[in-house]
């Protein structure tokens, strides 16, 4: 039985659960601060040629996360961005290259090496044929490898970008470029931009949540969800699927809810008197923030708790409550967007398949990693769809770069296992939902997947497309810093219209 059939069978069960679900999306929307009356109408947007207002005049420090309308109605309301840190091999997943198989074991032609720099390949490496079988799937007939059997069932919902390119071939700078628009540090991440632009739909939850798995944070560290020069309130809040879901969300031991409530009441009563004396609006804001903190103590652990999900959901996603794993994070992502969180960023570490160990071999470790992600990401698409959320949730799956068609020969030596070096010139990513045209493949590479041939896109194009789906003109969505307006896409970025429905 495919995942899809399994799922359909259980839709009925879902209906029963639904009646029991006390916090449906609609219910939660009512709870949220959404509603035109609450919108802060001060425009954040001005073009490059107009003098910007001062930060203080539009950044409302007393309510920085108030929901704001986008520049134009966008198809997507929220984003789930799944980043495989370390760079999965496109040649074993999405990029079908039968010609490369024929070259397996031969010396790499010098034309591919002239003037190129690689992170680890030295001298003349051998070519490495695809280490997985490919076949066509769905009505659209898109090619996917056997490493992703579940995902193959939902290709008609996906748009695959097969000619993504970057100019960074080291992890940290390449991740920064993808998420902040520069390989250097100091700029805001995409999620921060989006939260700054749209505010948060749910006043009980952060607007931008980050979940990591795989045992390490991404190579570029917390900067990939940092707020750069934007106020720090827009940085991603890292939620953890083990330990406290948000730092310091738990009351100190011995403090029960009643006493916590009484403390907040006492604090706020005194702060009200303080306000009467000083009339500082920041004091009013602090009163509101303490109230929200109290509510978050309930709402965050609740949304971060997957224990109460029905058994079939756990089966569908492959989740195991209590563990810090990727599948749990994917399910949490769905729960979070369902409750109005604007941007959910997932990082999964451990895709750097150099061939220096079995875990990093394209024919061993990569397959194991795929087993851990294939099921949950498929479940995510199906689950969002059946909840009617896929149309308004943009899902992106990708990485910082791809991998070489050559076998890695670190320091010019043979490696213990089959691996591929970092490859910046061409790799694959996919998007689904949020107004993306399903069953699309865009962009082509040459016969061995080394260079792009057509439909080349880069980080800026992807960023421009994401912003477009959310209702932002990436060229006009700016923030004034150091005397000039900055944008996520810097001075580039073209919307990838070919994958938009």
């Amino acid at each position: 039985m495919t995942q899809k059939e399994l799922h359909n069978q259980r839709l009925l069960k879902e209906a029963e659960y639904k009646t029991l679900e006390h916090q449906t999306r609609r219910h939660f929307l009512k709870e949220s601060a959404m509603g035109l009356g609450a919108l802060a109408l001060g425009s954040l947007f001005y073009s490059c040629d107009s003098k910007s207002p001062s930060l203080a005049s539009f950044f409302d420090a007393t309510n920085p996360l108030a929901p704001r309308p986008p520049m134009f109605p966008g198809k997507a309301k929220s984003v789930i961005y799944i980043h495989m840190a370390g760079a999965p091999s496109q040649l074993e997943l999405f990029s079908y290259k039968p010609e490369l198989a024929k070259l397996d074991g031969l010396d790499c032609p010098p034309s591919l090496l002239e003037g190129k720099k690689f992170a680890f390949i030295r001298g003349v490496p051998k070519m490495l044929g695809p280490q997985a079988k490919f076949s066509q799937h769905g009505k659209s007939g898109l090619w996917l490898s056997e490493n992703l059997p579940h995902l193959s069932t939902v290709v008609d919902d996906m748009a695959i970008l097969n000619a993504v390119t970057t100019d960074q071939f080291n992890h940290a700078p390449a991740q920064l470029l993808m998420h902040t628009g520069t390989p250097r540090l100091g700029r805001p991440s995409m999620g921060s931009w989006v939260t700054y632009g749209l505010g948060s739909e749910n006043k009980n939850l952060p607007g931008f949540v980050v979940l990591t798995s795989g045992g390490n944070n991404p190579d570029a560290g917390k900067s990939v969800w940092g707020s750069g020069f934007l106020p720090s309130v827009y940085q991603g809040v890292q939620c953890r699927s083990e330990g406290d879901p948000v730092l310091f969300i738990k009351d100190p031991p011995g403090m029960d809810r009643d006493i916590r409530k009484a403390s907040i009441d006492a604090i706020n009563k005194i702060n009200k008197e303080e306000y009467e004396e000083y009339k500082d609006p920041e004091t009013l804001s602090r009163i509101a923030q303490y109230e929200m903190a109290y509510k978050m103590q309930i709402s965050v652990p609740e949304v971060m708790n997957i224990n109460d999900e029905p058994a079939y959901i756990h089966e569908m996603y492959g989740t195991k409550p209590g563990e810090a794993n990727f599948a749990n994070n994917v399910l949490l992502a769905r729960k979070l967007v369902e409750k109005g969180v604007r941007f959910v960023q997932l990082f999964d570490w451990g895709w750097d398949t150099h061939g220096d160990s079995a875990g990093n071999a394209v024919d061993i470790g990569l397959i194991n990693k795929c087993r851990k992600v294939d099921r949950p990401i498929t479940a995510l698409i199906l689950d969002l769809k059946q909840r009617g959320l896929l149309d308004e949730t943009l899902v992106i799956w990708g990485s910082e770069f791809g991998r070489t068609p050559m076998l890695e020969n670190r320091e010019g030596k043979k490696m213990p296992f089959k691996g591929r070096d970092h490859h910046a010139e061409a790799y694959s990513m996919w998007m689904a939902g949020g107004g993306i045209k399903g069953g699309t493949s865009y962009g082509e590479t040459d016969e061995i997947g080394y260079s792009t041939v057509s439909g080349k896109v880069d980080a800026f194009d992807i960023q421009a497309t994401i912003l477009n789906q959310l209702g932002f003109d990436h060229e006009k969505f700016t923030f004034e810093s150091q005397g000039r307006p900055f944008r996520l896409t810097d001075v580039s970025g073209k919307i990838i219209h070919q994958i938009i429905s």
């Binding site: 100190p252 000083y278 005397g483």
Partner: protein
Amino acid sequence: MKRLLPFIVSIVLVALVVAFIYWPVEKIDYNTQVKPIFNKKCISCHGGVKQKAGFSLLFQEEALAKTESGKPAIIPGNPDESELIRRLLADDPEERMPYKHDALSKEEIEILTKWIKQGAEWGEHWAYLPVKEEEVPSIKNDWTKNEIDPFILAKLSDQKLTPSAEADKPTLLRRVSLDLTGLPPDEKMATKFLNDNSEKAYENLIDDLMASPRYGERWTALWMDVARYADTRGYEADRSRTIWKYRDWLIHAFNEDKPYDEFLMEQMAGDLMPNPDDDKYIATAFHRNTMTNDEGGTQNEEFRTAAVLDRVNTTWSALMGTSFNCVQCHSHPYDPFKHDEYYKFMAFFNNTRDEDTQSEFPLLRQYKGADSVKLLHLKDWLSTNVNHEKSDEYYKFLKTWQPTINSLQCDDFKNGALISSWYAGLRKDGSCRLPNVSLDKTNQLMFSYTSNFNGGTWSIYIDSLTGPLLKTVSLSKTEGHRENWRIVTTGIPTVSGRHNLYFKYSNPAVKTFDETAVLFEWFQFGEKFPGEGKAGFDVARKNFMELMHAEVQTTPILFENNKELFRSTNVFERGNWLVKGNEVTPEVPEIMNAMDPKAPKNRLGLALWMVDKKNPLVARTMANRLWEQLFGQGLIETLEDLGTQGIPPTHQELLDHLSWKFMNDFDWSIKKLLKEMVMSATYRQNSKTNEELQKIDPLNKFYARGPRIRLSAEQLRDQALAVSNSLSGKMYGKSVMPFQPEGIWRSPYNGDKWVMSQGEDQNRRALYTYWKRTAPYPTMITFDGGAREVCVTRRIRTNTPLQALTSLNDSTYFVMARNFAFKMQELDTKDVNNQIRKGYEHMMFKPITETKLNALLELYTKSLGTFTKNEKATIDIIGEKDTQPKPETAALVVVASAMLNLDEWVNKN
């Protein structure tokens, strides 16, 4: 009457003539009237980034030059002939400017027309003109106290606002103490001030605060943002970096009130000052706080370049209030800086020895105990037996290991590789090249290497592997400290000129071709140890080699390349470091003050130029920054940009007045400048606002009231430690690791762990907390600290629920609440009323109001009810300290925690 008429008529006529001659013809001011129109309406197409139709308004010579049409667009004195005006008025939408945008208003066109008629005179933006002495406005009243106040009062009067009365003594005491020392006053100081009713009481308090060693710590915390100080290197692995000696240098500098010009000079170029001592070297660590990338497979030159660019950008944004990084890719869009000027400026920084090496060379080597004595003896021996120059040279070399050539310069590897992109590594029969080595006057090779094999032979050939042999060196297995690196010298024949050297390694003992048999760290082609034949030569030479291997305290520093290692600098086309344009030499931008022609064209000359009183930006930027620290916002809000796109100053004359005094009257004394500010009536006002004032001036830009600002992350921690009697007074040293929740540090390829510090190191001031760039201490970030990957020119304050969660629940804060409860019990052993009263006074230096007391008592009673029924909760709340956990104590802890969350506590009022 009739006779008077002609008289009156003639008087009127004379008056009319006089009026006609002296009537002020409205003179258009370029800076305030014309430039804003250009910036807003024209410059995005006709400026630094784009020059549509060959026309740019950025520089005078460009604006008056011929455009693509063949004639200039502006003809001074003749608006009718000026294409600029014609295009603004054109009917045809294809012709009319701004293209596809709304037309300029009548008034705007009139301004531009008049301006051209009056000769189209250019003016410089005020911030690029030297600071001049400003006349203090003559306005004065009972409120004004020093020269700052008339400037403020004049603007207030313009706005029909009146200043506020002085804050009450307790409020002022707490405010000025937090501002100057980052801590509440200690009890002695507080009592002294509150009981002193003399005129001088406040000034004495300020002097006491400034004399406290806490003062230096507080201002160091600020400068650590500016210097992007961190205890790690950044990027992927984000490994540890030992650079805390720089932090300690800052504390000393602020405490001894090192004049700001010297303070900057030493940080920019201490290594190039005459006979630099350790402190001067350590000061240069300012610009070694740039990141290095340890990620495998990275290009060292790329990240060396990134660090140099960061030095340029930080120098401008942090020290000279200019967004110079724009100029990296193109001429500045709005301000008068040209593209190549960026690289001319970069040339000042491009010749330091650092090259993104793993060991972070160059390092200052500080010897311990007997070794430091040995070093002095050696220095003396060389002075006596050779000469002073040699003595200095060897001293410097032992202190820095410079100049040496890092092995990462090697290339052209055969059966070898640059291992982890840092070290030249050769395998059996492997070879590589060390390019472009100057061999003039050399007769000795010194090098650092490591090997696991005996019996290795290293052959060095000149210009090719088949070229003449320079030397064959035997390499044996290395063992010992510093990861088995060994430093060895060997004599070489003298060869003149620059050569590519080819290295070949052979060793019959190595069986496989896969194993790296030798790693080189660095090379030095120099001269033999001098003084051969003199008494004590052998001992001196032995001591020299021992000192080379000695265990030392290291700090990354700047060290300038010598002639042999000189790097040329090129323009990067469109900012891309791989696309090199014209070669450039060090030069400051034309718009700024010129460099002293006698000054050297290096970092030292640059530093001298920065602290030249004619430099328009350095004093202004610092005065503005200090003002921001006290008042919550700068006189120019954009501390990092005083240029035309920055937010216009609210009190430009005052800023100039303070900058002038800072340089001249105060001789760059930061303490004097701060004292001037905190002594003003403007600073001393109470900070109460009201609905009407809030409407007119919500951001307090006119200063009709005192500053009311949320404390910084550092101040919040330090204050809570102080009030709960737990603050450690220990100064200086390695950074510490106070409590941090599990799982914050998860850098790949890095086994570093957050190991909780023990004893009083748990309770050190916040500036001593270990700062990891990719995972900074959570509460620092929650309360608006930056990650310090690049310099933090200012922190933008936010107000979020995560802050509330931190100060309510973070166990660090909760432990402080506990200790504060114990403190309250000490203040009064019995009565909870008094405990809270006295506790509040301990915090705020004034009596608590009844409403506040009642709110806290209500909380106490409710908590007491719970704890009386729940012994476990009581124990949990109190922690381990109390052997007999009493519900009363637990309830008081809850109250203490609430008190440490009050708005009036997290703010300075």
